[in-house]
Symmetry: C2
Subunit: 328 residues, 2 copies
């Protein structure tokens, strides 16, 4: 493990368990941005944090709260995994700008401004129209910038995303998505977005979620790493990392909650379809937290040097955490 | 100000304003334990913290969050006042033990187990019967001990208070009360309680609230300081401080909220009475945060040496904060 680079995953939403935390340990993963909310309101999100607090007590051998880059470095030195809290939607702040500082104090470090649908702040990638960042959204971006809560636009629509990059005084993130030019999908991002993201100092995390992959679960690690190499050309080697979107051991009821929340009485299949409604099977080279080694090997085979590989596997995220998680 | 001891007030609930914060500055007060909740539930308490966060931004010249003894020392060096959050009741944790760590993370450092009435944790001092610490109360005490949230029994009944002192593995506080042997009042404390408090390493904060004073608002500073001297004999010089219970500029509707909350449709006068329902006038020697100097002079006149005076005015609280505000 000593010769492995520091590994950070820019997004996971597992059905958390001692088994998964032990795999993070075995896989030498020093930090994971863990989704702790999709549609939960503030009080429900607090209940989720309470659950994490019990895991931090119970599984202290493997996991520890990740609130700063220093926490991640400490976790790395101790052979543990720092868990960085993030929200895939802005539902936890409800209609209350003061909750941004509150959730930051409680450990949140990433918040998406919208999840597939229109939110109070921005438009999601499944809406027909994208009117851009709202009035509340502009206030929220400034407040997130002030306290150090990173704007994540993974599930947002194009115009809203470009406006968020422009309006934010600090670099933002797209924690889990791939280039649409490689695999056209509503959740993947245009070259315009990726260029603007890179130029503004932001970060893209590459997703292994099959709906984001060319050929889905049949995508090879070589194709995936070739895509990373092309994106490094587009965005610069310092602005890319992994955001696996690993949803390990989740029942299909969870992907239904992600897609439908409480907003629809009808089924919505998101990236899936009526005949393929559940979680798609992961590609064989990335099924759990012990598989980062396959990405390291894949990047090396794709021509990345050791220093570049280290940047993609975690160095860039660590440096981004350093600049992003506290007040300016 | 340089020759003044470090000053800490163990409890205030002002109608907070720039004027009051400026008086803290003028009075050289380095920390105030500020009540931020009487009967508020969790979400309402969070809204109160949001309000404080805005004051911390707006009045950063005068006030700063007080979460550790180090914060207080820094505030002292900078000529600012560290505000330590506390609850006069356990209503913010509702029926949920996980909220204890959550409110601690949000900055709470003191919580009363009951306020006048029976709570889910303990009995208040106005109940006819006191069955002692409840099942939930025992769990809550252990969790408060674990995270570093100080148990405050100021408004609790005798048996519950003695049991809390016994059950808690860390010293507790009675932040604002006086000896009942000096002035019999339901809110003042028996010598048994005060002795047990001192022997266990706990802290008593002396109250200037007229209903806790012999002769009420006519109590002289000399009488008050003579009472402090007697209590130092009873409890030891290291276990006493100030807990002024100053409720500056509050309208009488606030004392009604304190007493009645949402639990009664009928008036309850608490320490007042139907013909004297409002806030009683403070004694002339302690009306705002610039008056701590009168206590320093009073203690000196009562025979306290400089070192003892410094302990009572803030040194003991600072040392208690040091031992109490974090995990063991």
């Amino acid at each position: 493990m000593a010769d492995r680079p520091l590994i950070i995953d820019g997004l996971q939403y597992g059905n958390w368990s001692e088994e998964i935390f032990a795999q993070m340990h075995t896989g030498g993963v020093s930090a994971v941005h863990a989704t702790i909310c999709y549609h939960e309101n503030f009080r429900e999100t607090v209940a989720n944090i309470e659950r994490w607090n019990r895991w931090f007590e119970r599984y202290a051998r493997h996991i520890t709260p990740g609130r700063t880059a220093a926490d991640v470095r400490r976790a790395h030195a101790e052979g543990r995994t720092a868990i960085v809290f993030g929200f895939q939607n802005c539902s936890p702040i409800e209609d209350d700008i003061g909750l941004i500082e509150i959730v930051h104090t409680l450990g949140a470090r990433f918040m998406q401004l919208s999840y597939n649908n229109q939110s109070l702040l921005a438009t999601g990638c499944y809406e027909a129209e994208d009117p851009g960042i709202t009035r509340f959204g502009r206030q929220a971006i400034a407040e997130m910038n002030r306290v150090g809560l990173v704007i994540d636009m993974s599930h947002s629509a194009e115009r809203s995303t470009l406006e968020a990059i422009e309006l934010s005084e600090r670099p933002i993130a797209i924690t889990h998505a791939n280039p649409a030019s490689w695999h056209p999908a509503r959740r993947n991002k245009s070259d315009d977005v990726l260029r603007a993201l890179g130029e503004s100092g932001g970060m893209l995390g590459f997703s292994t979620y099959p709906h984001h992959l060319r050929a889905g679960g049949n995508c090879t690690v070589d194709e995936f790493c070739a895509m990373i190499a092309d994106t490094a050309e587009l965005m610069g080697i310092d602005h890319i990392g992994i955001g696996s979107d690993l949803c390990q051991n989740q029942p299909d009821s969870v992907v239904e909650w992600m897609r439908v929340g409480r907003w629809s009485k009808e089924a919505d299949y998101g990236e899936g379809s009526a005949d393929n409604p559940g979680f798609p099977p992961q590609p064989p080279w990335f099924g759990d937290n012990t598989d980062f080694v396959n990405l390291i090997d894949g990047l090396t085979a794709a021509g990345f040097g050791a220093e570049e590989t280290a940047k993609v596997m975690g160095g860039n995220w660590l440096s981004f955490f350093e600049r992003s998680f506290g007040p300016v």
